[in-house]
Symmetry: C2
Subunit: 648 residues, 2 copies
């Protein structure tokens, strides 16, 4: 008979068919378990493992070096390091100077209030970071996305044109909150919160933000005077085409010429790594060339708007300017949180990327403290929120920086330039700065990665797309919230609707695998072998109950089968945890099975699951003698022999 033949085959396949006992892990107290759990949740990197067994003096040194990573490299610093850092520092300064002008150029928007502050944002935070930060490649400074969001959010509370001073104060206060938030994430070891911004979310978000920033620059690229203050695509485009009469052909021509130059330089620099200086130097070159052109042909009289005179100098400290007024507190905190988390994500991700390239470790929680403190200090010295920008760090890395000293070089260079050479930039045309912004942010639209996401995972692509569309059509914060919400919903859905897979025996072996995945895997007559691939908890027990009952019913009603269904084998190898609802589900399932005259067998419950099964069994005694096996094979083997015996 079919069953006997199969039993024989299985018996032959298994020379090791001695039945093994399923064990529970050695007993531990709840307190110990909680300790392990807390450690794994908050200290997965075990930051103090190097301290263990060291003499107190050594511990002290290690502690100082933990708090101030500068001590890791400063004692060993030498001239050859400095040469590399000098070159890298000057290179990133050449990027920072046009960017500083960029932020300063827009007299009529919210950006304008920052004009005198930029010296500092490029100055104080890099100095703080070089002492506290553990990344060697991160180039610190303001990033366009974070400043964009800050401007947009604060404008909801105060008009920067009518009340620039209040606006400025709110910006400092928001920076303070951003810094406090970032540092506390690090201190409370809650760094995993930024992990909820998935790659797909960030790709979509960055692309959307780049489009928004570029669209804002259409004002300068086309020379439009009356421009909307809203951010999303529809009103901006309406504003562009509503004011066609204001377009200035000289401005458009100059803008397209420089944008073309910058994009070509960027493209060449990317294609030929040896020519990367071309893409790095092009923004500064554009600023110098265009300034000269304007100065020589007096283009400001021909419809091209220029930056104009900027007074620059070292600003007084700003801690007395922080505003904690009830009327603005909520908007300031919200702004701080949003910009804080965005800039933190970019900073940490950049730091990790370059650390991985060079093979050193960056401690996420420590980085958060460094970035947070840098912003707290920044907010007291007239700086707004800054972080490690990805693009600038890439340049820093390519230019061969060795330590955080390159940040110090950059800070000093930018300060000197802006302090003493700023008047020279008075003739820089706004349209060229707009081109530089567009050329910089357009690189954030990462089509190949989006395509890869589409290829690999359609749901991730939906997350990516909704993040993108949310940012450009609704708003920056809401777009981000939608994408994060979708990602979390997806995780919950995966738990709520776990996979149940039917397994079959791969003939001639004792291996059992998904019968839909492996053509060689065949169901064993008389057995229904199922595997659940998720934690069993309150969110899915109802589903599992319905689905399993339906499965058993369907299997029972298949009359073509010669043999009756006798055993349901449930492989728990893929169930990492159960909760009380999960245990109730397993008990109920056992009852349902016996109502159908079936025996339910559990295979390989993992540590925690086994422990809870045992405890529940002590209370309610639902497990039979042969309800637990270590492997499917052992279960099938002993049940088959039992049936064969009974028949004889």
């Amino acid at each position: 008979m079919e069953r006997d033949r199969q039993a024989l085959e299985i018996a032959v396949a298994a020379t090791d068919s001695a039945v093994h006992k399923v064990e529970a892990p050695p007993p531990t107290t709840s307190l110990e378990k909680m300790k392990t759990r807390v450690k794994e949740t908050f200290f997965p990197d075990d930051p103090f493992r190097h301290f263990k067994g060291q003499p107190p003096r050594r511990k002290c040194v290690l502690g100082l070096r933990y708090l101030f990573p500068v001590l890791d490299w400063l004692p060993y610093y030498n001239l050859s390091f400095f040469k590399s850092d000098l070159i890298a520092g000057l290179t990133i300064a050449s990027l920072a100077i046009p960017q500083a002008c960029m932020h300063a150029h827009d007299h009529n928007t919210h950006m304008y209030i920052y004009k005198k502050k930029l010296t500092h944002t490029s100055f104080v935070p890099p100095l703080v970071y070089s002492v506290l930060g553990s990344s060697r490649d991160l180039a610190v400074g303001p990033v366009s996305i974070a400043s964009l969001i800050m401007g947009a959010m604060l404008r909801q509370a105060v008009n920067p044109n009518t009340d620039p001073n209040l606006f400025l104060q709110l910006a400092f206060t928001a920076t303070l909150f951003a810094g406090v938030f970032q540092a506390s994430l690090g201190i409370l070891r809650l760094g995993f919160i930024i992990d909820f911004l998935s790659k797909a979310t960030l790709v979509g978000f960055m692309a959307g933000a780049a489009i928004i920033v570029s669209l804002q620059q259409l004002k300068n690229l086309l020379g439009i005077v009356h421009f909307t203050k809203e951010m999303s695509v529809v009103p901006v485009m309406a504003s562009v085409f509503h004011n066609v009469n204001e377009w200035s052909w000289q401005t458009v021509a100059m803008g397209i010429a420089f944008l073309g130059f910058l994009l070509v330089a960027r493209y060449v620099g990317m294609k030929r790594p040896k020519l990367f200086w071309l893409s790095v130097g092009s923004p500064l070159a554009s600023v110098i060339i265009s300034t000269l052109i304007v100065f020589l042909v007096k283009a400001q009289n021909h419809g091209i708007s220029i930056i104009g005179n900027l007074k620059c100098g070292l600003n007084s400290p700003s801690w007395n300017k922080l505003v904690f007024d009830k009327a603005y507190l909520s908007v300031v905190i919200k702004t701080g949180l949003t910009t804080g988390i965005i800039s933190l994500t970019e900073g940490i991700a950049s730091g990790r990327t370059f650390a991985a390239l060079r093979g050193y470790q960056v401690d996420g929680n420590k980085e958060m403290m460094a970035i947070g403190l840098m912003n707290v200090v920044g907010s007291c010295t007239s700086c707004y929120v800054s972080t490690g920008a990805f693009s600038r760090s890439a340049v820093n890395h390519n230019a061969g920086c060795k330590t955080a000293m390159s940040n110090i070089v950059m800070a000093l260079t930018v300060m000197i330039t802006l302090l003493f050479l700023m008047p020279l930039f008075a003739y820089t045309p706004n349209v060229v700065l707009a081109s530089i912004i567009i050329a910089a942010v357009i690189g954030l639209v990462d089509v190949p990665t989006a395509f890869q996401i589409w290829k690999l995972d359609k749901v991730d692509f939906v997350v990516c797309l909704s993040s993108f569309l949310g940012v450009i059509f609704i708003s920056v914060q809401e777009g981000l919230a939608i994408a994060v919400g979708l990602s979390i919903f997806r995780i919950l859905l995966q738990t709520t609707r776990p996979k149940i897979v039917e397994l079959g025996n791969i003939l001639g072996t004792n291996i059992y695998r998904d019968i839909h995945q492996y053509r060689d895997a065949k169901g064993v007559a008389g057995f229904l072998i199922l595997a659940i691939e998720a934690p069993i908890n309150f969110s899915n027990t109802t589903y599992l109950k319905e689905r399993m009952t339906r499965w058993i019913e369907e299997e029972k009603s298949m009359n073509e089968k010669e043999l009756d269904l006798q055993y349901v084998i449930l492989d728990l190898s893929g169930v990492p945890t159960v909760d009380t609802s999960g245990i109730s589900f397993l008990i109920d399932l056992k009852k349902t099975a016996s109502k159908f005259d079936l025996e339910l067998i559990f295979i390989n419950p993992l540590g925690e699951v086994m422990e809870k099964l045992q405890r529940a069994n002590k209370m309610q005694g639902f497990l039979g003698v042969n309800s637990l096996y270590l492997t499917i094979h052992e279960a099938v083997f002993s049940c088959t022999s039992f049936l064969a015996e009974r028949k004889l």
Copy 2:
């Protein structure tokens, strides 16, 4: 040498050591995959499977029976069924009548406005449910918890004492929203949303709500006249002890006597199933006895307050009373949603419990539509939100009901009683009604279950406790929200910090299991065998990367080991899904391993994971020739033979 010996042992253990190929599931289009996914998410019960392959006429009949489950039993209804249903119906009516008085008794609180409406709430909804509902045991009517929440939430918008009519209108409107929400959950097949109220949450919530309701009744139990309107423990207790001078000893004595009687009757009824009529009949008996006592001794003149005269009659339809004013819309919708989900949870859970006891199926989504429609109809006929109450359904079930006909019997009995016998209840003392309420809700404090939860799962107990404390100290909605939030956070945390387990070989077999769980499982020299027990996605890749790197580093630095670490084997059997971040993680891990001169081997990727690995491999080619094995044993076996060969 050690390794050779071990290799030999493994070779002996494995007679079936032919290496098997890892296969991907047969290719399907994204559309098909999406279809399967949508089906599993929204139609796990496959409601149309009975329709397949039927002639059109039969399909029509099946469709009607699907929509109106009454057609399932009405054609076969007979006298013996009716006898059973009559007895059950009268029994639950005897519970509903005092409850109706209960709701009507409190002149000075929000409940008072319902007094004339109760005829209907016990009348129309049961009739609707008996046509649409698929449970045979559910006894439909108002439930104390839902009415409590509705009253509490609406009082935030309008004062029931100064504007009782508006309050009444808002209550109907909230009921309408509750019904629409419930029905749409069913129609959109989003029934799984109520699964997020876990058993632990509900145990805590019910206990908390029972305490709150009981505390409210202290007013009547102690005979206090001036009582607070707030709900949470602190102000209520303050109010009780602030008004000690108002306590009436006659009232207290009567209250304690009847409360004692009710509790003893309940206890006896529970202990001896044959005497269950004692607990069922005791409320009605208390009402009759106390009313007689008051009437005979004229107790209303001795400090015992009575219900007084109630005018009762059939109310006009109320659809013209629904209020969609902007000022109240938000509070009404919020109230509808909260009471809707609470009453739905109780209704569905009760229905499922009794269906399981009798061995029939209740379709969750269909039940939602039935309960939702019942409330929509209710809101148009002067009823407030009603559902299937657990306690009353238990009585119905115990009394031997056969079909939903018992609901019709109950509805008619209650209506007749309240229409014609209401004046008899004028002398019913409020204190007895308070005792009935307390005795009823105190049964919701389920200490044994809470203790079981504590025994089984400490985190679940925390959820339960926070739900309980939140309800009694903060507010009903917030307590519930905290508990649900905690439960969801727990699921997310499990995904964010997945378990990584080190596996070892159980000597003499080809089985590999957790070395912490199985004492017989021993690590294999030269191999690090790890298993990840969770989906790999954006929320945990950072953690996994850090944790795995640390694990490899630690293993490498253990110098006691005679043999170098050569292979890292990653068992993916417990990884049901990956997303794009997960794939990047696996690729990165492969790179990290080769940086340490290690070979990384993946074991048994499941269907979806295998598919994505293949697709990523096509794009980036990171998998080597021997990177994939079907079982750990096969991988260990071939790597060991490879090493042995190389040595020769």
